[in-house]
């Protein structure tokens, strides 16, 4: 999956909209939105590529206080399919209006929990048949999880100073594996070298990649070298 790398742009806020556009295009959704709720103030900060008329209407009606896809989804650890809100009168109210703006009530929200009690919600929607929806969900759910955490980490880590002093906490196993990747070894090779399963290699690599805010392994290697965590291969 190729997306704008939000951790390499100067201003996350300027690129958040394009990130959502690309996400929709790649994963075949109509619209996407991201919101984060400040754990202290309760303020909602968000981005969406919905039509402006709907965004305006949504804000005017203060639907963010009503919309269960925002208020409820944070309570789940798993992605929340909006189908579970079918009987929810608040949901019906918001999405009856949404329908008038050409926005489907078929969607889901991926909740991401951050280390400080912060929470981010990536929502996607698509007007399609139930069969098509289930198929789509199954094929993109992993990419959605990864995109949600990428967006959340980068939005909450904004500010030049915050980023300058943030040093990802990589374990020695994660560093060791990245070092072998930098040396050109495959996951299978690394498993053999370290006498661990290739699945263990993968789980540490995935974790290290996400901690570095990288979208791909080569990028993670580059970043780890930049941070003096590993030596160039």
């Amino acid at each position: 999956m190729k997306l704008i790398d939000l951790s390499s742009v100067q201003n996350v806020h300027q690129h958040a909209g394009s990130y959502l556009d690309e996400l929709c295009q790649l994963l075949e959704f109509d619209y996407a939105s991201y919101a984060t709720i400040n754990p202290v103030s309760g303020d909602v900060q968000g981005y969406a590529n919905y039509p402006d008329a709907w965004k305006l209407h949504y804000a005017k009606q203060s639907y963010h206080n009503l919309d269960p896809t925002l208020t409820q989804s944070a309570k789940s650890i798993a992605p929340v399919d909006w189908g579970c809100f079918e009987q929810n009168t608040k949901f019906t109210k918001v999405f009856k209006d949404a329908h008038d703006f050409g926005i489907s009530d078929r969607g889901l929200t991926v909740p991401v929990r951050g280390p400080y009690g912060d929470c981010g919600l990536l929502s996607v929607t698509r007007d399609c048949s139930p069969v098509e929806w289930e198929k789509l969900k199954k094929s993109v759910i992993g990419d959605l999880q990864a995109s949600a955490v990428h967006m959340h980490d980068n939005v909450t880590k904004t500010g030049v100073l915050a980023r300058a002093i943030s040093m990802p906490a990589l374990s020695s196993r994660e560093v060791e594996i990245l070092q072998w990747v930098a040396a050109g070894k495959s996951q299978q090779d690394i498993g053999d070298i370290l006498s661990i399963s290739h699945r263990t290699v993968e789980v540490h690599l995935r974790s290290g990649r996400e901690k570095l805010g990288a979208l791909s392994t080569p990028q993670a290697v580059g970043r780890a070298i930049g941070l003096n965590l590993i030596m160039p291969g």
Binding site: I77, I141, R199
Partner: protein, 280 residues
């Protein structure tokens, strides 16, 4: 049968959660001797307030016989904040594709050995299948589970061996605790199903569980035909008591029926009362 309970549906399953907290108290404080906080016979901690998902196994009578708690590793979780000694000073794994499983236990007092429906092995497998299928659907690829060596052995023997461990085992109460890695893959789920011979869907619908719990909380009395006293039902009541007296197997049971007759004699007609007193 498995039900997943989180903060979206927990208002429907309050009594199931209470039962689960009681099971956890018996296992983690009682059997394993961990330093956990138990109040009113229930073991709860701060992670239960962080909206986790509980994977709960119920037996056919609606008793909680097994459970596991799931949290994202991107946010606060036990390996990062409580069990960090297991990690030997290393930072924890953090990934949107990795969940943490804690408080995994089964009711060894209620369950038997062997592989039958009510065995430790069956319920362990059922909880694991439920957790892995739930995680898979969420796009999660692996789980890191905090377990004790006994559970570790059970997993190894039931087609569900961890593929690796993080950090090293550390003393915790009477036993040690360790962090095991397991993939949420089709292969692993198939292997557990093969071993435990659990073929069908392990999940129950919310409606099924609600019905089961309602049935469980209804008062039951053994060995007697249920009746609903209604106006003018004196004849039925008389027949009922006659049946009870006939079926009585011991003098004690006869005394019990006689006491019941006296207790409800206000609802009986004079004729019935006299007929029953004469009955031998």
């Amino acid at each position: 049968m498995i039900i997943t309970i989180d903060s979206l549906n927990r208002h429907k399953f309050g009594s199931v959660l209470d039962d689960m907290y009681r099971l956890r108290a018996r296992v983690f404080q009682g059997r394993l001797g961990w330093d956990v906080n138990v109040q009113d016979g229930m073991e709860r901690d701060e992670f239960d307030d962080l909206d986790p998902t509980h994977v709960v196994s119920l037996d056919d009578d609606g008793n909680v016989v097994g459970c596991m708690r799931l949290l994202q590793t991107t946010g606060p979780h036990m390996l990062a904040d409580v069990f960090y000694s297991i990690l030997d000073g290393e930072p924890p794994l953090r990934s949107s594709r990795l969940w943490e499983a804690t408080r995994f236990c089964v009711d060894t007092a209620r369950l038997s050995g062997g592989k039958s429906r009510n065995s430790i092995s069956y319920v362990t497998s059922e909880v694991m299948i439920g957790a892995f299928e739930y995680a898979q659907k969420a796009g999660v690829l692996d789980a890191v589970a905090v377990i004790d060596p006994v559970m570790n052995r059970v997993l190894k023997r039931s087609g569900n061996a961890p593929y690796d461990y993080v950090g090293s085992a550390k003393p915790m109460g009477k036993v040690t605790a360790m962090a095991a890695l397991m993939d949420c893959s089709d292969e692993r789920i198939a292997s557990i199903r093969e071993f435990s011979d659990i073929r069908g869907n392990v999940f129950s619908s919310e409606e099924e569980v609600i019905a089961l719990i309602a049935e469980k909380s209804r008062p039951k009395s053994d060995n007697c035909i249920p009746f609903r006293p209604a106006k003018g039902s004196s004849g039925e009541l008389q027949d009922y008591f006659v049946q009870q007296l006939r079926d009585a197997n011991s003098p004690e049971e006869i005394v019990a029926v006689r006491q019941l007759i006296e207790a409800v004699s206000g609802t009986l007609s004079d004729k019935s009362r006299q007929a029953l007193r004469r009955f031998n």
